[in-house]
Symmetry: C2
Subunit: 268 residues, 2 copies
């Protein structure tokens, strides 16, 4: 998504040229390209698919809506398996229209996971619950903190359900560092994503994630923390940013790689 | 601020007509009208000044900037005393330019409070730390949760430093209800403010607070919780909303009173 202006072939070629060994994919461009074709393309390029984004939106009360959400998540799991990634990222969903009950919505997510987690495990896919910044709590994701995500995940085996550590969503939270340690101790950090926090936020607050190094987050400190928690997986950079999307995608990817080295790679 | 389109005389007159017995004031319109004159106006109308908003912005590193902030807070305390309110609300301040250290910024707030709290107490004014929604953590307030606010407040006597419970800022937080109980147990709920959460958020995310009943927050549940915690003070409605500001202020105040009865006053 950081460079959604690139086609999948352009993206894989640019990754290979820059020495980026893995790529996190989103469902929509993969579906548009064809899931099997995308899997072949990425495999032929020698790239790992680090994660597929995203399943989730599991908070509906209405039975038909709920059934549709579960079917869509089954499809997402199948797509992840076809792409050869072991991680499907879940954005849980917001409050149903007219509801003000966050706790009940969170409980419906747990209910859905009891169905989805074993199905995913049967296909070699882990589900990774992503807490989203509290500014998305009503309309996008009722799971707002890493602790809430872990409380949900820990009802299931760590091989089935874990969490996403995304700096953009949790950087402000002084309880998040200990939650990272807790997640690492039970092998539940299934993905680690970076974006920086910049202001002012744009209307709708979706597409204002800052390029690495442009914002308020001490990204190297978070990387050190996640390292210390025992995480050895990929580090993804996920920027939703109208400014970056308006630029040449290969140039943005190159800039992002430079910023990653400057701000995230350990200094020695 | 909910009806900032009204002059202070219009505001006090409308409050009296609607049977609203108290009003929270902001410094800027009070200063423009004259602090002594505002105090006389409100007193003559028989209204209580429930709180003065706001002091704070105490996170500067630069010595001159820090001295200016302390002087401004001393002035705010004096203004609160002149207005006859016992509560000055503090918005702590964001990260200084170029800093990424939230913990150090929070510590500088505590340092400033050691100077300000006794000064305020000498004038019969309590300082109320307001946690702001995490979307303001970088540029406005590094205190993002009620627990963080309480951790700061509890370093001082409860007669000197407490917290603000504002539904807009904490509604998403599943740890906030227990923090409300903790705050009530030590008499640290110094103000209780209501606003509803509506989306999409506007650019800059400052002026999108929802009218009571328009959004995702179960306001009556929060009121019950704050009641149960032993709070017996005023309930303020504080809406920053471009749409409401564009309308007739008296009409907005009347609507707000109706919404308050519909959505906040206990049903029996």
């Amino acid at each position: 998504m950081t460079v959604k202006q690139l086609t999948l072939p352009e993206l894989t070629e640019a990754c290979v040229r820059l020495g980026i060994g893995g790529v996190g994919l989103w469902r929509e461009p993969v579906q548009a390209y064809g899931v099997d074709a995308a899997a072949r393309l990425v495999r032929a390029a020698g790239l790992t698919v680090t994660s597929l984004c995203r399943g989730g939106f599991l908070t509906a009360v209405d039975a038909a809506e709920r059934a549709r959400a579960l079917a869509d998540n089954h499809a997402a799991i199948d797509e992840a398996a076809t792409l050869g990634t072991d991680t499907l990222i879940l954005v849980s969903g917001g409050l149903p229209a007219g509801s003000r009950d966050l706790a009940a919505a969170r409980e419906r997510i747990a209910d859905a996971l009891t169905v989805l987690a074993p199905y995913a495990a049967g296909r070699g896919v882990r589900l990774a619950i992503e807490p989203l910044h509290p500014m998305y709590a009503s309309d996008r994701c009722v799971v707002s903190t890493l602790t809430q995500a872990l409380d949900l995940a820990e009802r299931f085996p760590s091989s089935q359900v874990g969490v996403v550590v995304d700096t953009y969503h949790i950087w402000w939270d002084d309880t998040a560092p200990s939650a990272v340690t807790r997640a690492g101790a039970t092998d539940r950090i299934h993905a680690f994503q970076l974006a920086d926090w910049t202001t002012p936020l744009p209307a709708g607050v979706l597409n204002g994630r800052g390029q690495i190094g442009d914002g308020a987050i001490d990204l190297r400190a978070w990387r050190d923390l996640v390292d210390a928690a025992g995480y050895g997986g990929a580090i993804e950079v996920e920027l939703f940013n109208d400014g970056l999307w308006a630029r040449d995608g290969v140039e943005v990817l190159r800039e992002t790689a430079i910023r990653f080295v400057e701000h995230v790679v350990p200094k020695k």
